[in-house]
């Protein structure tokens, strides 16, 4: 177990940024979101949740796929270069780390998305335990441990305890990063302190209002019962179809592919899209989900039934609670689960 004084973290950031890109939670105009480190940035690792999940580090909100040039009748295609430099994401919480694991199931399934895969290959995840989980958190429901990222796909687990940050490498990538930073990390971190911190966090989690939600019946075997339930007819009504839930969500991966006219050809890019939008499934001969009820139902059926059916029971919700906090109509997956009787 390693540790570093929190007062020394600016030095740590600088040291990492000296050889790699570093993404970390930054305060900007009153909001905290993950962004690239720079000399004059304002890191904020005390705020528990970034407004948007850090999924865009691996799956950017918008990214170029290739450029198309036209010369006379001829088309020339120039694929975008894949990520080829290592980078570090510092301070990801367990829910968001699990979110990446969910995205892996989508983007690394055959045929793999090479743009995403290259970022995963080069990304080093430094997870951070949630010092004080909040009321909107319900990661426990999905078997995620906010107190300890050791069994996740993270490369390093960290804990903020008192005036120190405790640091534990988990993978080869994590070990390599740790040895690069050996000048700043001392190896005398007290395991007992970390155990105490984990217990304290777990005690908070167990008292959170949504920690006991039950997911019983949310599986492929109950698909028809859930799909045909009349609950949706009432539940969806406040939905404004704004798509906020999908944009802040760590696992939502629906995307659009579009062309941007550069004046000198076109740039093919992909960007986040939302199944909540009315034109998402619209085509020349009609729209197969033409009511907001159907679109609302699709989002939750996908997260709680379809995704686990295809992925050995893994839900595509991680209980981060961002939709709980950000939905302007106070609609969210907790409400859905409760409405279906998941409130123990």
């Amino acid at each position: 177990m390693y540790k570093i004084a929190k007062s020394n973290l600016p030095e740590l950031y600088k040291a990492i940024a000296g050889s790699k890109e570093l993404y970390l939670p930054l305060e900007n105009a009153g909001q905290v979101n993950f962004g690239p480190w720079s000399e004059d940035c304002t890191p904020d690792i005390e705020t528990l949740k970034s407004v948007k999940s850090p999924k865009d580090v691996f799956f950017p909100q918008s990214e170029n796929l290739y450029t198309c040039q036209k010369e006379g009748k001829n088309i020339k295609i120039d694929p975008e270069k894949l990520k080829d430099q290592d980078f570090v994401v510092f301070g990801m919480k367990s829910c968001d780390v699990k979110g990446v694991e969910v995205l892996d199931k989508v983007f690394l399934a055959d045929p793999i998305d090479t743009y995403y895969a290259a970022r995963r290959d080069h990304g080093i995840i430094v997870a951070m335990a949630c010092h004080e989980p909040e009321e909107s958190c319900f990661c426990k429901v999905f078997g995620i441990d906010a107190a300890d990222a050791s069994s996740s796909i993270a490369d390093v687990a960290t804990w903020m305890i008192g005036e120190d940050l405790y640091w534990k490498p988990l993978t080869e990538k994590g070990e390599a990063l740790t040895s690069e930073l050996s000048g700043l990390l001392s190896s005398d971190g007290d395991e007992n302190k970390v155990e105490e911190e984990k217990q304290a966090i777990t005690a908070i989690i167990n008292k959170l209002p949504y920690s006991d939600l039950s997911l019983e019946g949310w599986d492929g075997d109950h698909f028809e019962e859930k799909f045909n339930a009349t609950n949706w007819e009432e539940l969806y009504k406040p939905c404004l179809a704004c798509g906020t839930c999908t944009f802040v969500c760590p696992t939502c991966q629906c995307y659009d592919i579009k062309d941007y006219n550069t004046g000198n050809g076109t740039q093919r890019y992909r960007c986040w899209d939302s199944c909540m939008y009315s034109d998402f499934t619209m085509m020349a001969h009609g729209n197969n989900r033409n009511s907001q009820m159907q679109r609302f139902r699709q989002r939750f059926m996908h997260k709680l039934v379809y995704f686990p059916t295809n992925n050995d029971g893994m839900y595509s919700c991680v209980g981060c609670g961002r939709c709980v906090e950000k939905c302007p109509a106070s609609l969210n997956i907790v409400k859905v689960i409760k409405n279906f009787g998941g409130d123990k």
């Binding site: 698909f223 093919r268 499934t281 619209m282 059926m301």
Partner: protein, 284 residues
Amino acid sequence: MSECTCHDKYSLDTLVPQIGIITDIRQETPDVKTFRVNAPEGGKLFEHMPGQCAMVCVPGVGEAMFSITSSPTNKEYQEFSIKKCGVLTDCLHSLEVGDQITVRGPYGNNFPVDTELKGKDLLFVAGGIGLAPLRSVINYVIDNRADYGTVDILYGSRSADDLVQLKEIQEVWCKTEGVNVHLTIDREQEGWDGHVGFVPSYLKELEFANDKTVLVCGPPIMIKFVLQGLKELGFENEQIYTTFELRMKCGIGKCGRCNIGSKYVCKDGPVFRYDQVEELPNEY
């Protein structure tokens, strides 16, 4: 820092298309054209199976999924029959021979021509542009005639002018032994001495033996009544195949658009047997 070598294990991303050159355009009907596409250096862009689709794109205008209407037994080129009905298809219809487009694919599954359909008597039921995906199978079956039983093709459209591939139907399909073509149009028309009436009612009039394997594609309303007709004739869901068309962007089961239940039409379809269709939520 050492040079990254991890990319060596990746092939070019499937979202990056190939360049295709239009080598022939046939005006099939007032609003349907068939485009022949080759690789710029000649030959086919890729190999495919009957029922598979590809993403066809005019850069800067749009990209959409179209069924490959030519048979894989055609070794020279691929063809797409495309109806003019939106921004991209309007633009495609304005293209000329020699113009380049981009194509990526093939995507999806295929009609089980080498397994479940083998040795069977086949009944194809198509309406309008719905013939496009079935044409690939029909020509595959004709080119491998010995592997299949009798073939019945029931094809209808609004008018005689809206029947696609009419030349091939008359000159090849009608003249192939063991292939029976039944054409129909919705309303009486001068110069048409064939059958008049909707596809589902003609299906019932023809009283097909219910031991055939059926492949159906057409407008949703036609499919609905064709299915009813087939049930009345004693056909089971397990004997009937269809192909779906939904909005798609990626073609590889990731962008989320064509997700119905736990299936992605682009990847798990577009071909489904009706007993599989019945298991899907009614969102297609």
